[in-house]
């Protein structure tokens, strides 16, 4: 997957997002401050994507910022394919990254675990580990979700496993 990913997924296209400065999990008293950084980073990243005509997801959280849901999309042959994703903040966050679920694609691809968790590339975990606690949800989406979508969706379309 690693090699095929680098062929298809272009980091330049996905852009980058502001990093976090506060190291806190939802169990920490500093979590609201960290959460603020997460929201800010996401808002700025999304607005930048829109400026560049490269808007590719929407996201929101529950009140405490522990559960997140969103939609991401992939455009191919002038058709937009949209998928709902979700994840929860794990107890060791930000030291460990959340696991992204796309339940509607469960059973359609081998690159998914039970329950619809997507398999991240082997680059992702070392990258996350090296950049903790600076990386946040924006980076999870940039380096986790985006390459997966870029590789898997065209493949699923080719195999006829998803339609409009």
């Amino acid at each position: 997957m690693a090699t095929s990913t680098s062929k298809v997924w272009d980091k330049q296209l996905v852009g980058s997002a502001p990093v976090m400065t506060i190291n806190a999990s939802p169990r920490d008293e500093k979590w609201p401050a960290r959460l603020k950084e997460e929201y800010t980073s996401l808002i700025q990243y999304i607005s930048k994507n829109k400026e560049n005509g490269n808007d590719w997801f929407k996201i929101e959280s529950d009140k405490e910022g522990k559960k997140w849901i969103g939609k991401c999309w992939h455009t191919q042959n002038y058709t937009k394919y949209e998928f709902s994703f979700e994840f929860s903040i794990p107890s060791a966050y930000p030291n460990s990254a959340p696991e992204i679920l796309i339940p509607e694609l469960e059973g359609k691809t081998a690159k998914m675990y039970k329950g619809g968790k997507i398999c991240l590339t082997d680059h992702f975990y070392p990258l996350w580990a090296r950049n903790t606690p600076k990386y946040g949800i924006s980076h999870l989406l940039i380096f986790g979700l985006s390459p997966w979508i870029a590789v898997e969706i065209p493949d699923l379309l080719e195999k006829g496993l998803i339609s409009k």
């Binding site: 997957m1 690693a2 980058s16 997002a17 502001p18 990093v19 190291n23 999990s25 939802p26 169990r27 920490d28 609201p32 959460l35 603020k36 929201y39 800010t40 996401l42 808002i43 700025q44 999304i46 607005s47 929407k58 996201i59 929101e60 959280s61 529950d62 009140k63 910022g65 559960k67 849901i69 969103g70 939609k71 709902s84 979700e86 929860s88 903040i89 794990p90 107890s91 060791a92 030291n95 460990s96 081998a110 690159k111 998914m112 675990y113 398999c119 590339t121 082997d122 680059h123 975990y125 070392p126 990258l127 580990a129 090296r130 950049n131 903790t132 606690p133 600076k134 980076h139 380096f143």
Partner: protein, 394 residues
């Protein structure tokens, strides 16, 4: 967009069901305990709920004594007091290929208590490893394990919890399971999970509980594995040395395509053996525990080394524990179990040098941050609720 409240409710419902399950289990145990109190002669129920205060181990050599070979360790001078094992509770998180074999070994050794945590069910695909039987298919691993382990040695108190260790909602329950309820009871955690996230959660839990733990893992191709003994503040924690995460065997958790990683009953059992051997050395105080021990079956090569705590560890609790250890170095727990040799120590910087990752983005991102500073100022005055609303319409 899905209704976030529906989503939240579903999650809550799931958590609630989990709690009900656990309470039912607790209820079942308490009922059995009550029954035992009423009728202490009832051998069946007293077997199910053994009381370690009444438990004893005889060194008498006869074919009916299940502990005679173990008590011989004492006679031969390997251990000073084998019965210490009765006072120990071991929490095993993850009872797959390694964890369940470790559980069986500890049961056969007559460990005081086993607390098993796993959220998986037994599948036929697990049959290439030891312990589980085809008829267990479909049962939760904790149920199947409890059933079989009780038959193997009914002296051991076994409890099982069907919980996902990474789930924030389970954090407090698991923390209470790994925290010692009685000071006289020794507690040790064995980490036998198969993914990075779960290891990080266990790292957090054990740092918070100040409980020593042994981490274990297999390589994705099933031919090598490792164990790592972690004492909060004394040794490197699991996050202290991120390069190690990649260098020795964490491949198993960095799963690639195809989902299915290889596994062998041999490598799993070898690593389980090394894991429990070190657990026993710690519990029974003999020999010297190994901090990191890696096994490569291709060359039949074992490497062993120490990892010092990283003063820049990303886990804040790790830094706190390091400080505590420095402050009261004389009464610090088990500081002497390793007797680490200086020349064997690997410096963290050296390890990180041979680690080449393909993606380089850190500096770039930092620039971006500066670029965006003006915008940050505007968002700074908003509350989190307002930010989430803004995010929704972004």
């Amino acid at each position: 967009m899905d209704n976030p409240t529906t989503h939240g409710l579903e999650e809550e419902l799931r958590a609630c069901k989990q709690k009900i399950q656990n309470l039912l289990r607790e209820n079942e145990q308490l009922e059995m305990e009550m029954q035992q109190m009423k009728d202490p002669k009832n051998s069946l129920s007293s077997n199910l709920i053994p009381n370690e205060c009444e438990r004893s181990m005889s060194g008498e050599v006869n074919s009916e004594n299940r502990y005679s070979r173990l008590m011989a360790l004492q006679k031969m001078g390997v251990v000073s007091d084998y019965t210490r094992i009765i006072q120990c509770s071991v929490v095993i998180i993850g009872i797959g290929g390694i964890g369940i074999v470790a559980a069986e070994m500890l049961s056969r050794c007559g460990i005081g208590e086993l607390i098993l945590i796993d959220h998986d069910s037994v599948e036929l695909a697990n049959m290439n490893r030891m312990f589980y039987r085809p008829e267990h298919s479909g049962m939760t691993k904790v149920e199947a394990a409890k059933q079989s382990l009780t038959i193997i040695n009914s002296d051991v108190k076994v409890s099982g919890f069907n919980l996902d260790v990474t789930n924030l909602d389970n954090y407090d329950i698991i923390l209470s399971l790994i925290q010692s309820d009685t000071p006289s009871r020794q507690r040790l955690v064995l980490c036998c999970v198969d993914n990075f996230s779960a290891r990080m959660s266990i790292n957090q839990l054990c740092l918070e509980a100040r409980v020593p733990w042994l981490e274990s893992g297999l390589s994705e191709n099933a031919v090598s594995g490792h164990i790592q003994f972690i004492v909060p503040g004394v040794t490197a924690c699991f996050a202290c040395a991120p390069p190690l995460v990649v260098a020795t065997g964490l491949e198993a958790s960095l799963k690639k395509e195809g989902v299915c990683v290889a596994s062998l009953p041999t490598t799993s059992a070898i690593i389980a053996g090394l894991l429990v051997q070190n657990a026993l050395k710690y519990i029974l105080r003999f020999g010297k525990c190994t901090e990191v021990l890696a096994y490569n079956s291709i060359q039949d090569f074992f490497s062993s080394y120490c990892l010092k705590p990283n003063p820049k560890c990303s886990f804040k609790l790790c830094l706190q524990r390091q400080e505590e250890v420095i402050k009261n170095s004389e009464n610090c727990m088990s500081n002497n179990i390793f007797l680490p040799q200086q020349d064997e120590s690997i410096q963290l910087e050296e390890v990180s040098k041979d680690n080449e990752w393909n993606i380089e983005v850190v500096e770039e991102v930092a620039d971006e941050m500066r670029e965006n500073e003006t915008e940050v100022c505007e968002l700074k005055d908003l509350t989190n609720e307002e930010l989430n609303e803004l995010l929704k319409i972004s």
